[in-house]
Symmetry: C2
Subunit: 192 residues, 2 copies
């Protein structure tokens, strides 16, 4: 049994290596540079090995997305933890979200831009994704306003942040005004 266990451990280790390497490569040179060949070379195995762990490139993106969702939830909870009062919390949340998106563009893409084959907004949505949404909801629920479903409010707030994040990164919005946009967003959307 011990031999099999060791092999399983090594296999799991290699899978982590694949995901970490894919993420690293994507963060360094963009997802376009993450080809199965390059990835295989970096982990020092042949291409088919990738396919013994994942069905294809899409699933690798999905794995990076799940990892990123967990981290994003942590980042957002950390951002709001020290803030005093609803308004400060919401502002910190928004800044934390955009900060994460800016600092981890490849992970953000895996999560919200690319197709990682993951189901969103369903019962069978993976726990990390649900939890990241929950992290948003925890802070936003208290400013949703009377008679407004916290879930719906959170979706809208999230969509706005997503729009800012993506349009800014693709240079469709000038980056220098992001701070003022966030202020305005919080001022208007949140009921304080």
């Amino acid at each position: 049994m011990s031999v099999q266990e060791r092999k399983q451990r090594e296999r799991a280790e290699r899978e982590r290596l694949i995901v970490a390497t894919a993420r690293e490569l994507a963060e360094q040179q963009g997802w376009d540079a993450v080809t199965t060949r390059r990835l295989a070379e970096r982990i020092e195995y042949s291409q088919p090995v990738l396919y013994s762990h994942f069905r294809g490139k899409r699933e690798i993106i999905g794995a990076v997305a799940l990892q990123g969702a967990t981290e994003m939830a942590v980042a957002m909870r950390a951002a709001t933890a020290t803030a005093d009062g609803p308004r400060a919390r919401v502002t910190a949340l928004a800044r934390g979200y955009l900060d994460f998106a800016e600092r981890n563009p490849a992970v953000y893409d895996a999560l919200f831009q690319l197709d990682g084959g993951l189901p969103y907004a369903q019962e069978d949505t993976p726990e990390p994704l649900k939890d990241a949404f929950a992290a948003l909801l925890e802070t936003l629920a208290e400013v949703a306003g009377d008679g407004v479903e916290p879930g719906l409010f959170t979706e809208l707030f999230w969509a706005s942040l997503h729009g800012i994040a993506t349009l800014t990164r693709t240079r469709r919005l000038p980056p220098e005004d992001t701070g003022r946009r966030v202020e305005l967003l919080v001022d208007r959307l949140a009921v304080l």
Copy 2:
């Protein structure tokens, strides 16, 4: 001279054919299906002909985007034209925007999701793009609120719509609540 003029006319005609065909193909089967080979086959020329009109695939996407921007501006102005009062106008604008995005996903992608090599939010931004933004601004300026730059407000409103449009289409937001999200967005963002 007349011969050269005819040739120029035919060349321009062929360029329109390329753009129209690319758009059609993208709208039917997605941008991934728009390969230079397939496109060349559909217009009944060889691949290199495409490169005598455009530097590459990116520029073709850009051409579709410009065409789409003009249409989008028209669609938004049409949507707001018949609405009475600021609130109705803003709601109609938001609905018109999301409608256009849903009905022309490939064009929308060319405009706001893919890289068409176009400069946005700069002095040398192509006129159709500026005009599409202007169409948004025309309606939104009157509800920006006191002391808030109309441009900044428009950017934020646009980003929110963009987030809703993209997250909904990639099934990260359930589509059935779009109407309520738009209502909430207008209620909160616009100063009526």
